[in-house]
């Protein structure tokens, strides 16, 4: 008999099979993921989770007996039947074999399984890619840096921590009462001065004892030695900041804010996948702009007119103060119902063109409306849309869409971030 412990064997033996399966089912899984992410709350989207796909393309057919024909079956647990009784066939199923039908298990028309968070998001974001994605110096290569991480008892001589070593040595010497050289010197002076023979012998013995003890307790022992320890840590070189700009004036309804929120969250998920560190700045504006926290941004009401340039101005300041464009990838997403005070138009256009677009990787404008608002094709374009549209037609890298229902968010997001084939990186 032989006992083997296989628990430490490398895991994931089935990983390759699982990947093959996912590859095979890719189209189906992707569709399921897309549907799932439309239905569920976007805040749950990072959880991965169960999806179900139709078994259609994945079944493994076998020759099987069909449902027709005469069936005989033996079952346990007869309580009331006598020979010759008839049991009415169960309704609906058509196939009447009480009990036995449950064991068949062939009615499986959907195949449910769990995707890990990674797998889910991978599929979710699979065919998306940011435009002009990373600044060249901030590629996705991981930079490792070293960091001090305390002391260790082993290491290379160059990392010897002298003070720490000496401190430990001193502590040890004191604890073990190592005689100081000074004490020996004093005794030797006394010996030289002393005439009394017995006293001299005593002093000599004491000196001998002290020097022996000094030899036994070394000045520095290997156990005192400490080295500086260093640890490799990934440096957050790929960092991004995401500016959420939103008009919170009275004309923005809860529905519109909800749409905007969803869009921001998708953007956030996307950025967290791309960058090690993502910061979010919320700027809300009415006729003046302020930087707020998330809760205030989405929840607390504000009233006033609408001056878009104030938000852009605030963003410019924040970028200048805190996010140097050389170190940060800057993304901005603006949501608005499109209102802007007429006199602000020219200023907005200038800010966008001269201050915002040069430093951002990507600027998306999402015009949210009440459900069904954009069904009317003759509705005139909003003030803001008009400005941005003009800029875009002049070649500014702006992405803009109109959205009015929740289910449109995801398709719009996809469209905005569609791989841009053939477009050279800036």
């Amino acid at each position: 008999m032989q006992i083997l412990d296989r628990r430490l064997n490398p895991t994931g033996k089935s990983l390759e099979n699982r990947q093959r399966f996912l590859r095979r089912a890719k189209a189906l899984v992707q569709r399921a993921v897309r549907e799932a992410s439309q239905d569920r709350d976007i805040s749950d989207i990072l959880d991965g989770g169960e999806i179900s796909i139709p078994t259609g393309g994945l079944n493994e057919p076998q020759f099987r007996r069909g449902p027709g024909g005469i069936h005989d079956n033996v079952l346990p647990g007869n309580k009331t039947f006598s020979e010759g009784d008839f049991i009415p066939r169960p309704e609906g199923g058509g196939r009447g074999r009480p009990g036995a039908g449950q064991g068949g298990g062939d009615a499986e028309d959907a195949f449910r399984f769990m995707l890990t968070r990674e797998e889910f998001l991978d599929l979710f974001l699979d065919d998306l890619e940011l435009p002009d994605l990373a600044k060249r110096r901030l590629t996705e290569v991981e930079h490792e840096g070293v960091r001090r991480a305390g002391y260790s008892v082993s290491g290379s001589p160059v990392n010897l921590a002298v003070t720490r070593t000496m401190r430990l040595a001193m502590a040890r010497r004191m604890a073990l009462r190592r005689p100081s050289p000074r004490a020996v010197e004093l005794l030797e002076e006394e010996l030289a001065a002393c005439e009394d023979e017995t006293r001299r012998a005593a002093i000599r013995a004491e000196i001998a004892a002290l020097t022996a003890k000094m030899r036994r307790i070394p000045f520095i022992d290997p156990i005192d030695i400490r080295y500086r320890r260093f640890e490799n840590v990934p440096k957050p070189v790929a960092q991004a900041v995401m500016f959420c700009l939103m008009d919170v004036s009275g004309s923005m309804s809860e529905h519109m804010k909800d749409l905007a929120k969803r869009f921001y969250m998708l953007l956030y998920i996307f950025l967290t996948r791309r960058y090690r560190r993502v910061e979010i700045v919320f700027i809300r504006h009415t006729d003046r702009a302020e930087e707020v926290d998330e809760e205030t941004f989405f929840r607390s009401p504000a009233t006033g007119g609408t001056v878009v340039s104030s938000a852009l101005e605030a963003m410019r300041h924040i970028v200048q103060d805190r996010y140097r464009p050389q170190d940060w990838n800057i993304y901005a997403a603006q949501a608005s119902d499109g209102d802007n005070s007429y006199s602000d138009g020219e200023l907005t256009a200038q800010l966008i063109q001269n201050a915002i677009l040069p430093v951002t990787q990507y600027f998306a404008y999402l015009e949210v409306g009440e459900a069904g608002a954009h069904d009317n094709p003759v509705m005139p374009n909003s003030a803001l849309w008009g400005i941005y549209d003009r800029l875009r037609s002049e070649g500014a890298p702006l992405a803009m869409r109109k959205v009015s229902t929740r289910s449109e968010i995801y398709p719009v997001f996809r469209e905005l971030f569609q791989r841009r084939e053939g477009k050279p990186a800036a």
Partner: protein, 516 residues
Amino acid sequence: MTTDTMTRLYDGAEWDFATLQRIHDACEEIALSELGLDVYPTQIEVITTEQMIDAYSSIGMPLFYKHWSFGKQFTQHEALYRAGLRGLAYEIVINSSPCVCYLMGDNTATMQTLVIAHAAFGHNHFFKNNYLFRQWTDAEGILDYLTFAKNYVAHCEDRYGHGLVERTLDAAHALMAQSVDRYPGKKKLNLRQEEERERRRRNHKERSFNDLWRTVPTGPGKSVSELSIDRRRALLGLPQENILYFLEKTAPRLAPWQRELLRIVRHIAQYFYPQGQTKVMNEGTATYVHYRIMSRLHQRGAISDGNFLEFLQSHTNVIFQPAWDDPRFSGLNPYALGFAMMRDIERIVTRPEDEDRQWFPDIAGTGDAMAVLRDIWANYRDESFISQYLSPRLMREMRMFQLHDDPAETEGILVEAIQNERGYQRIRRQLARRHDVGWIDPNIEVVDVDLMGDRRLIMHHNVVSGSLLEEEDAKRVLQHLADLWGYDVLLREVDASDAILTEHICKPRCTLLAPT
């Protein structure tokens, strides 16, 4: 029986490898000396949950070629397990020599004892002694063969591409169930035996020579076309029920490596064929053996009362059989049926009643239960086992009844027989039939190939009691078959009187042909 005490094997739930060794040795002592079992050497492997799911998804084998369908299995099992819908088996045992038993690392010491008794002795004895396994499987060679298969498939993937290999395997898997030899083939004779046979035949002819036969008029001779049909079929070895074998040997357009893949799939199907036929017996044997061993260990003081109760709890879970109208019912539990029958046989052998003497004159009251059981374990499969040894008493205890569901009957489903004097024989026959692969699996065979015409492959499904093939699946399987064959395939479903009930025709898609 001796009642000498044993030292306590373990305390509490903790175990280590020394404990496993002690447990194994104690079980071995009882299994070999008291039960007289005969087993392959065992190899116990302790594994984690995830590895158990791994093993599940490659049909229990420790190594297997890569294929997406195993990934599908894995994904499915994992989902069910994570959701808490399904527990995992406590063990998996492989019919190999040495017999590999997987034990879950999370089990308690009692569970490990149970599993060792169940798998390392119960199943192991059954694998080594049952005639089906002896006839059809090669316990020594299987792991080597799987290694070969795995490497060969990987090699083919490298050389001919994943897609092509995957499609070939897909097609082969679809035909797996129809690709086993159901009867041991003729052994090829060597020269001396052939001479011997020739001599015997000549002797027979000489002895029975009668010149009168010459004068008896013969009927009209067979026409040339009939002869050629017969000859053709004989040359192709038709009719042939082992479809993959037939394709491997005769499919005109397969590349040699594809034939080898078919052969691998076919061999593996053959290896598992006995397991499907001996589910009740195999589990019954193992359950009976672990029950005996555990009881003895407890009796001799090797297991404490508390741990024995823990064992009984899992044991009764395993052999739980809900009644047909219970929401938990999902068919007859092979563990329950097998174990009940083994216990019943033990009772018949040692404490028979009049009824038993009448039904089982051969074994009733012979006294040595283990000898009788060992003989049964060696020489029966589920179908023959049930039709021989299901006793009236057990049918009464389990309250078995038989239903007859004829779609033509409008009143409902007829209760054909119940657990009484008139019903015993019928119930027993029917239950045996439900465990007969000959009845469960559709009987499909290759009957002809139109070599003179369009090389169409002609198959017959011999329909039993009017139940045709499930159409969607049948079409898909036929598609795979046509792809492998390379030309049209025609499947006829015929009833006992050779009347054609329905026909399916399928054209190949040419997706399987290797670029040459």
